[in-house]
Structure formats: C-alpha cells, structure tokens
Amino acid sequence: MDVILFGISREIVGMKKLTISTAENIQTVGALKQWMKQKYPQIEKLNSLAVAVDSEYADDDQTLVDENEVAIIPPVSGG
C-alpha cells in the first residue's frame, strides 16, 4: 500500500511516499494511524492526525484496500 505524505509528516518520515508491505497487514485507517505512530514517534506529537482515502477524509474504521490512494493529513494551515 502506498501512503503519500505532506508537510511535517513528509519531513518526519523523510519521504514523499511510503510503500507499506502487505506483510504489515494494515486493514483500516485506524490501524494505519497506529502503525505510523509506532514507526515514527514524532507523528504522535502532532496536534492532530487525519487520513484521506481517495482524497476524502476517512474515519478510523474505514477499510483500506491496495487500490486506494491513501494520504496522511497532518494539521492543515492554509490561508
């Protein structure tokens, strides 16, 4: 599963895109958030953490499939 990264989460991870092995067995948005926080503890310190699936904000219980476009959304600051 590909996960795209922006802003501070891109900097924390040090990559624009993470390709997570199916062996990690991440099946939901909530599981992805947990995985991110464990792998990159600085993610935990952010004001908020959202995930977008196919460019829509997604709830924690939403199921992820390999074809989804998944993005980590750190606290927004447009305007």
Partner: protein, 136 residues
C-alpha cells in the same frame, strides 16, 4: 465559480472575475504574508498542498456556500510555493445581490478553508522554520 490553486494571486483579475451587472455587492478577502508572528520576524512562507484533495475540499465549500446564500459569483484562490511578506496567499470573493450574503459567505469560506483544506504552510524565520499549527 472559480476555484483554483495557483502560483500567484492577481487581485485585479480576481475582481474582474467577480464583477457582474446583475448584482450589487462584492466582498473580497485577501490573506497575505505577515512579516512577523508571535514576536519573530518572518522571512518567507512556503505553502504545500495535496492538490487533488484541496481542490475537492475547496469545491465542497463553494457548493455549501451556494446552498446557504444567494450567490452570483464565487472565487477561491490559494497559492502554493514560496511567498514573501506582503504577498497574497489566499483570495476569497463573493458577488451577490445584497451585501449581507457577500460578507457572510466570504467569511464562511475563509473560516472553513482554514479548517479543512489540506494545505500546509511552513514559516521561515531568520534562524529556523516551523510548520504552522503542527504542534500544540
């Protein structure tokens, strides 16, 4: 309805888009780079967007505003890239028959844009830089 992510905002072009002989009121909000924040001098800002999703969210806000107010024309522009103090980073414009709708819808759009649209700004000071809103 003009919803775009651009490199630069031209206020004169934005107003040209909003002009209409059918309606009497245009409200235009421009957000610009401030040369200081919390007592620190700001050298520049850099904006990054999840462009596809940002446009989707901006269009959702535009549609919601059109549901709530009688709007003739509506414009949302946001830049990405590097901007210096004084430069425009966001423009919101609403044209309507009467001024209530233009003021209220314009205010709604900028408030919501700041909450939901996936755009991020990094503030550069003389000695360091910070992703705005990232940390408590």
């Amino acid at each position: 309805m003009l919803v775009k992510i651009v490199e630069d905002i031209d206020v004169s072009e934005a107003y040209q888009y909003l002009e209409s002989p059918d309606t009497g009121a245009v409200n235009l909000f421009i957000g610009t780079v401030r040369n200081h924040t919390k007592g620190k001098e700001v050298v520049k800002l850099v904006f990054e967007a999840y462009k596809k999703m940002a446009l989707k969210e901006m269009n959702k806000l535009a549609e919601e505003a059109k549901q709530r107010w009688p709007i003739e024309k509506l414009l949302i522009l946001h830049i990405t890239g590097e901007k210096k103090p004084g430069e425009a980073v966001v423009a919101i414009g609403v044209t309507s028959a009467h001024r209530d709708a233009s003021f209220e819808a314009c205010r709604f759009l900028i408030d919501e844009l700041k909450k939901t649209v996936p755009i991020w700004k990094k503030e550069f000071y003389i000695d360091n830089s910070v992703w705005v809103n990232a940390h408590p």
